[in-house]
């Protein structure tokens, strides 16, 4: 649903609909044809995925079916501009039925709440990124294109997959360079509330906007027996230091303009880029003072992140979208902490059931009204509609229920009953 339709904000469910990709771009039939056409070449690689035309592994001194970093190739920079990277580790396109998604990263002006905008790296231009809904066992193919001047990856948080698809720069893959497309292929498992985020420059990238939900549904959810929910909501918990974000983003882009300029000319050597073949080479470069590492006190006073805005699904209260519920209805709320801070989500007027942590169902659900959501963690709760009214749902670390230090705001939304006659209706106050 578009923003126009959802004004004033109606529910988190609508927000979720906005961001959901739900197999938005399945191109299996086309790819099957393509696989047939190139079947001979792919078959020669056996279980190894198709090799990117931009990657000439022989130049690295490796065998053709091996995969390694291109950063240390003699002329690596010429390989880094544009191109498509398809790492090995997962079945080829013709071997399984992939559900295929396109996702990119770009810089957008994102409005956190009226009067407060910030430039952010955003998946498909959205904060948070598109929400994936897939079924356990599905084969997933994600074409990730970097439309910024910075480098990025995608880490699939909580998914058990081949390590070459894990999205950790210089550990499992090269960072995705400007203009490149990196193809992630993996099977959606295990089921549960998972998420994805950039793993390059994580404090800036992942914690500030480059994150999204990756929901792996079970074919038959046993939780529905005890908690027969039909509606579910995903709440990504976020925090932003918009001043650090602005300054750091500009500093990174300034540096990357120079890096990209060298790269385009084929003149970038890996040390200029800040990469080293191994720890010994790095240690030697630092100790010889050839390389003045950016963490040294002579280069930096440190990156100090002090979030001044907190939010849910890209917005701070009162711009956050509401959670709708009806009397005698069960709803499921999936909480994902992308903020890097711990949050203590408290629901007024209800005890809810905490049923799942990190995507995995608890052996015994717990009946509570405040759930502690650790950084990176996902927590699922079930709420039963037995107390009609308007009920705030917020971080009980109250400094996070502020906008730029002014209460109320931040990480706060509302559980709204949709089928009762109110005697008092909520209004808006942002200066208490």
């Amino acid at each position: 649903m578009s923003d126009k339709k959802s004004f004033p904000p109606a529910s988190v469910e609508e927000a979720n609909e906005d961001r959901s990709v739900h197999i938005i771009n399945s191109r299996r039939s086309f790819l099957k044809k393509a696989a047939v056409a190139t079947g001979g070449a792919i078959a020669a690689g056996k279980a190894v995925a198709a090799k990117s035309p931009a990657v000439d592994h022989s130049a690295m001194g490796h065998e053709m079916d091996q995969y390694g970093s291109m950063m240390f190739m003699q002329d690596h920079s010429s390989h880094m501009v544009g191109g498509k990277i398809e790492p090995p580790g997962s079945p080829a396109d013709h071997e399984v039925n992939y559900k295929e998604f396109d996702i990119d990263i770009r810089i957008v002006e994102h409005e956190i709440l009226p009067g407060i905008k910030a430039h952010m790296f955003a998946f498909n231009g959205q904060v948070p990124g598109p929400e994936f809904h897939v079924t356990e066992g599905d084969w997933i193919k994600v074409n990730f294109t970097n439309n910024t001047e910075e480098m990025h990856t995608i880490h699939w948080h909580g998914i058990v997959l081949p390590y070459t698809m894990d999205g950790v720069p210089m550990v499992t893959q090269d960072p995705v360079h400007p203009g490149q497309t990196f193809v992630y292929r993996f099977q959606a498992k295990p089921a549960g509330t998972r998420w994805y985020h950039c793993h390059w420059g994580t404090p800036l990238h992942a914690n500030h906007a480059m994150h999204g939900a990756f929901i792996v549904h079970k074919k038959k959810d046993p939780l529905k027996k005890r908690f027969p929910y039909k509606r579910e909501y995903t709440l990504m918990l976020e925090s932003w230091d918009i001043d650090m974000l602005r300054e750091e983003m500009n500093e990174i882009l300034r540096g990357m303009k120079e890096v990209n300029s060298l790269m385009a000319k084929g003149k970038l050597d890996y040390m200029t880029h800040g990469f080293f073949k191994n720890y010994g080479e790095f240690k030697k470069a630092v100790e010889s003072r050839q390389y003045v590492a950016p963490y040294l006190q002579s280069r930096s006073n440190g990156l100090h992140i002090n979030p001044n805005f907190f939010g849910i699904n890209g917005k701070s209260y009162p711009a956050t979208k509401r959670i709708g519920i009806k009397q005698r209805e069960w709803i499921r709320i999936r909480l994902i902490n992308a903020s890097g801070k711990a949050h203590h989500m408290h629901l007024h007027g209800h005890d809810f059931w905490w049923v799942s942590q990190d995507g995995n169902d608890l052996a015994e659900p717990r009946h509570i009204n405040t759930v502690h959501v650790e950084p990176g963690g996902t927590y699922d709760i079930m709420v039963y509609g037995d107390n009609p009214g308007y009920w705030t749902f917020h971080d009980h670390a109250t400094t996070r229920v502020t906008n730029n230090g002014i209460y109320p705001g931040g990480m706060l939304t509302m559980l709204e009953y949709e089928d009762f006659t109110p005697t008092y209706t909520p209004s808006v106050s942002v200066d208490q």
Binding site: K117, H119, N250, L253, E258, L262, T272, R299
Partner: protein
Amino acid sequence: MKQKSLFIVVLATAIGWSGSTQALEVDREVMPRVTIGGRLITTIDSDYEASGEPGINMGDSSLSVAFDKRLFGNGVAGAVLGIKENEGNVAFHQMHVFYWNQDLEMKAGRTDLPNTLVEFPLVRDHDITSMTYVGNGSSNDEYDQLWGEVFSADWVLDQKAQKLGIWAGTRRNTFAGAPDGFDSYGLGYRYEPSEKYMYLNRIRHAGIILDAQKDRAGSNPYFHSIVAGGEINLSTDPRRNWSMAVQGIVNSGVSGVTLADLNDGTNAVSNRARAKSSALVAAIRFTDRPHLLTRLQAGLTVGYKTYDAGGTEMSIVPSLLYRIGQGVDVVAQYRNTQYSDGLSAVDSTNLVQVGLTFSLGAKYNDSIGERDSITNQEHGYIR
């Protein structure tokens, strides 16, 4: 406004400020952004033709503090206070208020005169000023050639790099019968991309400005100078960068300035500023930035100036800067200047300078950002 005592000036300023704010409350909840910038430069100078004895030179050292805040509507406003060493005393070279938004930059108060376009690879701003700045015909003080009371407005034509500016100002006049009010006017066009693209664009910056200055003698009206120049990157390699800077100044001067006036022991500086003349300065700059971290800059600057009344001067200035820490540089410079037609008591002077500079730049409470940031210029302007 040169003051003998920093303490008195600061106290007087503080009293003035506190008095002016009594009528209205100041919002306690909005701390201004505070930007501190400064440079302390100490060189050991050896001037062979003068005393022959080396001495310590701290000239051009300065400290400035800027305060600014976002406004309720569009834009940012603030104030700058800056002090500079001037022949053993402290002078306020910056004391102005400013305003900017996406399309406009304005300032009013004591600040840099808009009378030059290019920063050459020289150790100090005031090296070879007679060739690089439009001089002040009403003062012989070295610093009065660089600073004055200015009201300026620059329109950012494309919201990025092209600026069309006008200004009116008062140059300090040390002669009797000094005119009150504005005595200088100017306009100009400047192409100034953000310094973030310094090593990447072929043109670093360029411009042309017209400077009109009232002559100190009542019988003469204004004399005019045209300044044109810029700097281009010979290579756009951000690791080993070569650039070339050129600036020319043509001064219409006033009639009646003679060679004797140019050699006037007391008023030579101001007389040369009001003499019909032409100056051309060119420089080659090499910057070495291994790992994209500036470590060395070498420059060669050559300047030539000729006066219609007779006489020429030519300077050759090789300089070297070696960075030993962020903002900490070892510097060395040699300056040879040759004179003709008796413009100097000697035909040539030679100055060797070796020293250390310490520069600082610190920002506090920054909730504003910069008008010309990359994100603002390339990804939508956030006011």
